[in-house]
Symmetry: C2
Subunit: 274 residues, 2 copies
């Protein structure tokens, strides 16, 4: 009858909305999209909370088994759970378009995502420019498309939210070359790695988009009880231990008085350093 | 014990998160911030759903009666409800800083806001530049600080989210001049008024930031059952009736194939016109 896209919010099973939970209870099948972000709790905790089974949908499944996901969705309700907000990532557009083509009604239940929850760090949301993604460098590939974007934001005095890479259940390139998929262990980029890569690219590009003295805010596990927010220079934050995932980094643009007051409460102290 | 900032999400009483609702149930006093945004349901519906009284806090109250709001918050839980996400607006920063100065623990419960839910229209969130506010013109004041920002976004091919003015329980300028406050009726800017003002400013500035033929998306009541999303040129959208508040407008930058596929389902038809 309906394909629900249900945002789960940021941290645990109780971040779902009351409306979202009601939709979950109506659904015959529930998929959990588990590759563009992660919730900070295990699937079993969700299943216990919902009182029903949750099918984990990895990238391969969502990209190649759309028909299975949509099977009978014209006769019964199907739920597609997404960490954060359903349209934080572009990944689910295809599923939505396919459902519409099959005349299956689609309903979206929104929730917080890092794109708006980052406002909690004290830098004001309407003063952010374009967001960027920082992906893991490999021996042969150092993607730096973020650089001109950060530069343009900084030239306009705007903050930049850097979304840090997540590698979940992706086959290793080596195994693909051998024709037999072997999955690499999950990896979540830390603030420290992000800063290291950023500074490497600044050294190549030398246009002064930022440097070791640039004010940044590192955030970890936003919305959870163990949330961590630390403001400091890139050099300072490079030494801070932010603990388990997920991490994000904000490169500050020009700051206003009220933003500075907010950041002051999060300024790093020597004791924060690892 | 704790001052909770609780995001209510976008549309109705069931958009609160399970975690947020649990916090509401713990609180001795509940304030509803009612001037930077509005929920699409009445206070009484919230009270019935929560099983307790909700105190509406207008701008004057939040700005002048912080002590009353924080009274005894070191001994009992107090909740401050905000439509959308608590830090979508800058308005609550002061309350948070005051609580911290009094050593009252602050806890934030996030939710969807227009800043991330707008992703549902099909233009991808990471391709938005700086957001702008469009405020009502008066006879003597036509604020146009949005113009260079939209221009800069468009020059970089980025989309611009335009947040439209809300006037709730604000004393009229005339009454302030007479020394006795009279409150004006609430007003919520429509997509139509926003486009009219935007085009007026383009005529003054003539830098080609946008024009009647620029692709835009008008959205109304996002997250509710009556949600409306229409894509079209500024000239086309100026003629569409988007119905009751709240409205927002997105000025598209360069669009990618997948964005165009998403927008195609929302393209305005002649029958949409009022």
């Amino acid at each position: 009858m309906v394909l629900f896209f249900i945002g789960l919010g940021l941290a645990d099973e109780k971040d779902i909305t009351v409306k979202g939970l009601e939709a979950v209870k109506r659904c015959s099948r529930i998929y959990l999209e588990a590759y563009t972000s992660i919730l900070l709790v295990q699937k079993e905790k969700l299943e216990k909370f919902y009182g029903k089974e949750v099918i984990v949908a990895d990238r391969e499944m969502v990209e190649s088994q759309v028909d299975a996901i949509l099977h009978d969705a014209d006769k019964e309700d199907v739920g597609f759970l997404v960490v954060g907000d359903p349209f934080g990532a572009t990944t689910h557009t295809d599923l939505q378009l396919r459902a519409k083509a099959l005349h299956i009604p689609v309903r979206v239940i929104h929730n917080a995502s890092i794109m708006n929850a980052v406002g909690t760090c004290g830098l004001q949301l309407y003063r952010y420019g374009e967001a960027v993604s920082i992906v893991y460098f490999t021996d042969s590939w150092r993607p730096d498309s973020f650089y001109p974007r950060i530069l343009a934001n900084r030239q306009r005095g705007l903050h930049t939210l850097c979304l840090l890479d997540i590698k979940v259940r992706e086959p290793s390139l080596e195994s693909l070359a051998r024709g037999r998929k072997v999955y690499e262990p999950a990896r979540y980029m830390t603030v420290n790695t992000a800063i290291e890569q950023l500074l490497e690219i600044e050294q190549d590009q030398k246009q002064g988009a930022y440097g070791p003295g640039t004010l940044c805010v590192g955030v970890a596990r936003i919305g959870s009880d163990t949330q961590q927010i630390v403001a400091g220079t890139m050099a300072e934050l490079a030494e801070i231990d932010f603990g388990p995932p997920l991490h994000s980094l904000i490169i500050a643009g020009e700051t206003h008085v009220i933003e500075e007051e907010m950041l002051a409460q999060y300024r790093c102290q020597p004791s924060d350093r690892s």
